[in-house]
Amino acid sequence: MAASLVVKVRLKGILGSGGGLDRLRLRRGFEAGFKALLAAGRPDEAVKAMFSPSDRVGFKINAIGGRELSTRPEVSMALAALLADGGPAEKNIVVWDRTNRELQEAGYRLNMAADGVRVFGTDSSGIGYDPDIVSHLSIGSRFSAIQSRLTGAQVSLAVLKDHGTAGLTAGLKNYYGAIHNPNKYHDTGGDPYIAELFDAPPIKARHRLSILDALVVQYHRGPSHHKRWAEPHESFILSRDPVAADVIGWTIIEEFRAAKGLPSLKEDGREPSYLFTAERMGLGAARKDAIRVVEVEA
């Protein structure tokens, strides 16, 4: 069986200018990542391999961390621009999370207009959560209508962070923001809940791609932002294997922790065991010998 491919896009120096992020460079980063991921000659070919022009695509971002530690608007918009060139029109792309307030605090400008990339939260008037509860394994939740009805394809566009109980919050756990009751699934380090939520039909059937925004990585005391334990990594992690993407994200966190003299997540009693549960459930590869990492510069 072929190893799961994870592409690490390095964007050295992108945080160095002091101002906003260079969108063109971010775009080039995504282009390089998509080409490497799909072994495509051109970025639009890679986009077309994953998305069709008729798709309505959601970017489930992580906006809980405010301006300092959320999926950056420049990143979301650069990705949207790339997709719009080869796949769905901008108006069929929704950048979303739980609430409009969190989106705005993360720097997003809301847009529910007919044109342009849509940006809104589940709490927008007329959206909300589906009334019926979905019961799947140990999960019983109502799903955001953005996840279940407004979009047919989903990108988990998450931020790479340490997490106080789960060890790691990245692409899989990002979908906690797609249900009405994430507070019920933080026991036992989120294991097996994170994996079982991903396995639920409203998510598994729509998930197309995991992208981790690792421009800045919170490697300790997450998921809240603590400047003392947040370091630039200036990279994106891309994979069609949602488990493998998170495993490589976990590796980055462990590298930072080791460099800073912190115990590993396992030593800290927070190893993200839900990744191994996800692998056992057939959701992707958690063992590193089953993952192939390709690094590209942009």
Partner: protein
């Protein structure tokens, strides 16, 4: 008090409130149109380094970073300070028969002003009110109803009691305690309907403010609590003992779920424990399960199972054992344990007080434990 004989039908007692609060009757939304959240500092929590906190209200001891919510979904760390988001923000306000709670030994035939906010600190797969208990604070339509207004509503609606019920009142602890104190100042009693997941210190404060507590004992098996409640049995048992020790009135409900917690052996063990720890006079209600929430693949509890459970509890020595959610079984009446006179006749929420006199059996003068006036 002179012995009274009266019927009070459910229809009369379950009136919605008048204009204003009546609009709050369980209107549920995926998100309320406008989030109506309080920002009142919580009472039981510990500040930790780096703006983290540890909630000390219930045994979960949620440890939360900035902007994180507790398991209950209604308490949030904001910049290192822990807030309750539901203080004075009930999502459900009703006038109910007190028997609906159920309290069978507290002012029978009267109405209880019943309130709830969103949230719960467990996640029972058989929850009957999951649409308000298993949601976050902003996912229901709440109204502004501070403690003094709740007390005033109880007076206006001729309710001698206020019940904190439907969801899990422990999660709106501050609102409940302050309301109970405001109600007491107006001569109203407070009743708590809880799953019993609460730590000793807040429970002690709560028991100073309220008059009666009904605990839902969901099983006598730790494994059941882990699998179907997402909680622990031990703190619930500690709560039951603490309520009894405090002198506040205590009743216990046991929801009998087919194949999950209905073996005669478990019922007998539970009954023996109650007998030993809180005595034979604590009313014990066996309640009928109906498929709900995440358990829809089981049938309603067979009536024979409920009757067997009641028989087992009576055989172990419990003196006041009832069956709920199953009218017609003739197991709702309060009967004098000595002379077997029917003291209070019940059919669902219809109540006829037949032979009670100043807290005693009118026939043989045996004291009947409870709050009767």
């Amino acid at each position: 008090m002179r012995r009274r004989e009266f019927f009070k039908g459910a229809g009369a007692a379950s009136l919605a409130l008048g204009s204003g609060a009546g609009a709050a009757l369980v209107h549920l939304y995926a998100f309320a149109d406008t989030a109506n959240l309080s920002k009142v500092e919580a009472r039981y929590y510990k500040k930790l380094p780096d703006k983290e906190i540890e909630c000390q209200l219930c045994p979960r001891l949620c440890r939360l970073g900035d902007k994180e919510r507790g398991y209950c979904g209604v308490r949030e760390n904001q910049d290192g300070i822990y807030f309750t988001l539901v203080y004075g923000k009930p999502c459900s306000v009703h006038v109910d028969p007190i028997e609906k709670k159920p309290f069978f030994h507290v002012l029978p035939g009267t109405a209880a002003l019943s309130i709830a906010t969103a949230g719960c600190n467990v996640n029972c797969k058989f929850c009957q009110n999951w649409e308000i208990s298993q949601v976050r604070a902003e996912q229901v339509a709440a109204i502004d109803l501070p403690p003094d207004k709740v007390a005033a509503l109880a007076v206006e609606n001729d309710c001698p009691t206020i019940a904190y019920t439907y969801s899990e009142p422990v999660v709106f602890f501050e609102y409940m305690v302050d309301t109970a104190l405001a109600a007491r100042a107006k001569g109203r009693r407070s009743l708590v309907v809880t799953g019993g997941h609460v730590n000793p210190a807040p429970l002690s404060e709560l028991l100073q403010a309220v008059d009666a507590v009904k605990v839902d004992l969901k099983s006598f098996s730790p494994d059941f609590y882990k699998s179907y409640v997402r909680g622990d049995l031990k703190p619930v048992l500690e709560t039951i003992k603490a309520v009894a020790k405090s002198g506040r009135w205590l009743e216990v409900v046991y929801l009998v779920i087919p194949t999950l917690n209905d073996t005669p052996e478990e019922i007998r063990r539970m009954s023996r424990w109650l007998l030993a720890e809180v005595g034979p006079d604590v009313p014990l209600h066996f309640s009928r399960f109906h498929p709900m929430y995440l358990i829809k693949n089981l049938p309603p509890t067979p009536l024979s199972t409920l009757e067997e459970a009641r028989a087992a509890a009576l055989a172990e020595g419990m003196r006041f054992v009832y069956i709920g959610n199953a009218p017609g079984l003739n197991a709702e009446d309060t009967v004098c344990p000595k002379c077997r006179t029917t003291l209070i006749k019940r059919y669902a929420y219809s109540v006829q007080v037949r032979a009670m006199d100043k807290g005693r059996c009118a026939n043989c003068r045996t004291p009947i434990p409870g709050i009767w006036a």
